[in-house]
Symmetry: C2
């Protein structure tokens, strides 16, 4: 199967402009072109795009995604380094989750504080 840029955008959740941008900065390999010079994405291309969106969602900076892409391009010999990158990135995602969870506690506390205020206010009225 091949896909137009609009279909690739739809499938990956990236915009058409972002797809061209990613190609320009070397994050994705230039896809094949059809007879009219238009981009024609393969299933593999789409798989890579989707994986990239996962990395992006987890906050990996583009320069790191590009580094990963370049290693991938150099083949199996770089598998260890790529694994290492994902390993470290996973640790940072876990740390980020922990950080968010600790902030959630602050939010919970604040919200319960506001609820207490409301409560006091209602008691004040009904008293």
């Amino acid at each position: 199967m091949t896909y137009s840029i609009a279909q690739a955008a739809e499938h990956s959740g990236l915009s058409i402009d972002t797809l061209r941008y990613y190609e320009r900065i070397g994050l994705v390999d230039p896809p094949a072109r059809d007879s009219g010079g238009r981009r024609s994405y393969s299933d593999d291309d789409l798989g890579w795009l989707v994986f990239l969106t996962r990395l992006r969602t987890t906050g990996m900076p583009i320069r790191m995604m590009r580094e990963y892409a370049q290693l991938r391009h150099r083949g199996a010999a770089t598998a260890g380094r790529r694994k290492q990158m994902l390993f470290e990135h996973r640790a940072s995602v876990r740390a980020r989750i922990a950080e968010l969870q600790s902030c959630l506690e602050v939010l919970d506390y604040k919200i319960s504080h506001y609820e207490e205020i409301e409560h006091t206010f209602i008691e004040g009225i009904t008293a």
Copy 2:
């Protein structure tokens, strides 16, 4: 207790420049000044700064923090709206955590895939 801008920066984890920037854009009230015209932060000021850093850490955009700050400035009458904001923000933080966790699964999968490759490689050598 009062604190110099350097101490406020130290305590909040924000940079001195960021403190002045937050003041400029109306995220924090201008603190008191000492006899020489220098900023002199109170414990309350610091508490607010620390809370702001929690909001920022959880990804609340500055314009929303500013809205919150403005409501806070208008006193108890806006408590309900502030609570509502925190409530909604908490939901978005939870959603963000869920999103990160689902991406973690993808990372786990990818990493285990690399481990499998390593394994196969070693078997290939020792065979």
